[in-house]
């Protein structure tokens, strides 16, 4: 066998008929495997055991305030684009108990919640979602304080990335430089090749752990031509993206336009429903709630996702700071696209398009950002 360079030893071809072996290998390594599946007429991420549970042959049609699953002409496994959920819920739980307290006479003791974090493998992580995970790491792990639940889930999570073979109707990751190809941050990445009966995945290895799982797969040798084919696929996807985020100078323009009339114009449409913040893979706001049992002997403190669109998000005794929808939309967008860069050295938007698709009135963050570009902006 000729000597191979390092890069080519780290990739292989997995035939479509052998895709199940990936799930099996992960399960053998004690991972709870989570992947795409169709539920409630959308693609969601949930526990799967069989490739057949994945959205085979399904695609989607997306636009502002619009999502429809479609049937593709082929049997692509990853032919769909971003669905309503991101992976956020599996690392940063929508609701969790922080701790319980038990009353003992006039005293009480605090008992930490000790449920061990599950060992999870995610199949089908898009490049934008990988970036979103890395952004949440900055919030929950890299700061002064870490969130131990997030940190342990994150440390064990096995990430199987999928490079996008087509752009969703609301995607704009090529303008935010967060896709559509994953260059790093994954354990394994897949690029789907589908041409008639020729159906396979280029498997690229991104980590030590990834190499161990890859060693368990019936991979065929990949060639330089396979790699080129994979790159060409994501290049085509990037070229077909219909929206762009005008990132150049956007931070300063937004921070200098806090009293721009556009905020009121978008507020006239916005329902302050919080959908955009619930579907966004980078949003990290949470609140806490306290419960006591009926006897008053045990108390519990829970944390749950929250949204800056909620009136009580900014509550101080006497009233909320951001009472108007304009102030709340301004908070969401200026934080996401500007303040985030001050706080974490990276924009909070990875161009996944979810907030556009799932906004009931079709408010488009790229269009709102563009309103602050060019002429006429103070």
């Amino acid at each position: 066998m000729p000597a191979t360079n390092d890069a080519s030893t780290k990739a292989g071809l997995l035939r479509r008929a052998d895709l199940q072996s990936l799930i099996d290998a992960l399960q053998r390594n004690d991972y709870r495997v989570i992947g795409p599946t169709v539920r409630d007429a959308t693609v969601v991420y949930d526990e799967i055991a069989m490739v057949d549970e994945m959205p085979i042959g399904r695609g989607d049609n997306q636009d502002g305030g619009h999502y429809r699953l479609t049937d593709r002409a082929d049997d692509a496994v990853f032919g769909y684009t971003n669905g309503v959920q991101s992976w956020r819920r599996y690392l940063f739980q929508p609701r969790r108990t922080l701790w319980r307290a038990k009353r003992e006479a006039r005293d009480f003791v605090v008992e930490p919640e000790t449920e061990p974090a599950p060992k999870q493998a995610f199949i089908g992580v898009r490049a934008c979602e990988l970036h979103a995970i890395e952004i949440q790491d900055k919030v929950f792990v890299d700061g002064t304080y870490t969130d131990p639940d997030y940190q342990s889930r994150r440390a064990t999570a096995f990430l199987v990335a999928v490079n996008c073979g087509s752009a969703g109707g609301t995607c704009f990751c090529s303008s935010t430089d967060t896709g559509p190809r994953s260059e790093s941050g994954f354990d394994l990445s897949l690029t789907e090749f589908l041409d008639g009966a020729d159906h396979a995945f280029l498997v690229e290895v991104g980590s030590e752990r990834g190499a161990e799982i890859a060693a368990d797969l019936p991979l065929e040798a990949a060639t330089g031509a396979d790699r080129q084919r994979a790159r060409a696929i994501t290049e085509e996807t990037a070229a077909s993206m219909g929206r762009t985020m005008p990132v150049d100078g956007l931070k300063d323009r937004l921070q200098q336009s806090l009293e721009h009339p556009r905020w009121q114009q978008v507020a006239d449409r916005c329902l302050a429903c919080s959908n955009c913040t619930m579907v966004c893979p980078t949003c990290f706001c949470s609140t806490t709630e306290d419960y006591t049992d009926i006897t008053g002997q045990t108390a519990e403190r829970q944390q749950r996702w929250d949204s800056c669109f909620a009136l009580d998000h900014s509550y101080l005794h006497g009233g909320s700071v951001r009472t108007s929808t304009a102030a709340r939309y301004r908070q969401w967008m200026t934080h996401k696209l500007a303040g985030w860069i001050d706080q974490f050295d990276v924009s909070g938007c990875v161009g996944c398009g979810r907030c556009i698709t799932w906004c009931p009135v079709g408010i488009d963050i790229t269009e709102e950002a563009a309103a602050f570009s060019g002429d006429g902006v103070e």
């Binding site: 605090v110 930490p112 000790t114 700061g143 806490t288 101080l316 102030a327």
Partner: protein
């Protein structure tokens, strides 16, 4: 050595490192400041270690089953054997402080945030300007100024309360007044018959305070509008905006820059504040509902 009952139970080290877990403190002393404001001395229940903090920092205080609120530390940072908080009863959680008795337990997380720039005050004049309960987070700064009086030139305390009955730390203020090397001015919005002092808002006191604008640090805490007027007056008198420090309030669920609630433009008030130099927030605080 570790008397913490939590340490005895088998919890993972990750859980023990959880900043969201409160530590237990016992109420050692409770005093009425005014009809709606109480001061508590707290002692740690599970350790003999003292509580170290910097003036201007705050804690998250938890009352069993009721919830958790951010409250500034109002005691002397050099007396680490007791933790002092002053609480105004304004709502669902703070009202619960009225029922606390000596020996009762509360949860404490902290200390959090950036405090007053005591080092930067060295060698110059210091203005301490408080409105209402804004005096609570400033009291540790004052103790620091007293404990190291020779490090500073002129020290002035300007304090405004709603009425004579709303003056907190009443006896202590009398003692401060008697100290010859400190200038103390108190004003009330609404006087009663026995009040012989200043009446009206605090800005006139700021306008005539004696300080060297080239070498002064101002520490300001009070209602938002008061801080804005005070800062504007100080700037008019030649004090640079970056020598004026304000302590801000925002909703806080976690105090560790995770929950997102306390954001003010690019700042997390819990982490970058609550004390911020005025030049960092002046522009954004001009904007409504920010």
């Amino acid at each position: 050595m570790d008397a913490n009952p939590n340490a005895a139970t088998a919890v993972s080290s990750a859980a023990m490192a959880d900043a969201m877990l409160p530590r237990r403190f016992h109420v050692a002393r409770k005093r009425n400041e005014t009809a709606d404001t109480l001061t508590f001395d707290l002692a740690p229940a599970d350790t003999s270690d003292g509580f170290s903090f910097a003036p201007g920092q705050f804690n998250m205080l938890y009352l069993f089953g009721l919830g958790e609120v951010p409250i500034s530390i109002s005691g002397d940072a050099e007396q680490t054997d007791r933790l002092v908080h002053t609480v105004r009863l304004v709502g669902s959680v703070t009202d619960g402080f009225a029922d606390l008795k000596r020996g009762d337990t509360i949860g404490v997380r902290g200390p959090y945030g950036a405090g007053w720039p005591m080092d930067e005050c060295n060698g110059g004049d210091v203005l301490v300007i408080a409105g209402g309960l804004g005096l609570a987070p400033l009291r540790p700064a004052m103790y620091h100024l007293f404990n190291h009086r020779d490090h500073y030139r002129r020290v002035s305390i300007l304090y405004g309360a709603r009425s004579p009955a709303d003056i907190v730390y009443h006896d202590e203020i009398q003692r401060w007044r008697q100290q010859l090397d400190i200038n103390v001015e108190v004003t009330v919005d609404h006087a009663d018959l026995r009040w012989h002092g200043n009446v009206g808002v605090i800005t006139p006191l700021v306008a005539k305070a004696e300080f060297d604008p080239a070498n002064t640090t101002a520490l300001v805490c009070g209602p938002g509008i008061m801080m804005r007027f005070v800062a504007a007056t100080l700037e008019r008198r030649g004090l640079a905006s970056d020598r004026i420090y304000v302590s801000l309030e925002r909703n806080m669920r976690c105090a560790i820059a995770h929950c997102g609630h306390c954001q003010l433009g690019p700042h997390f008030v819990c982490k970058d504040g609550p004390v911020l130099s005025h030049d960092r927030v002046r522009d954004i605080l001009q904007i409504a509902q920010v």
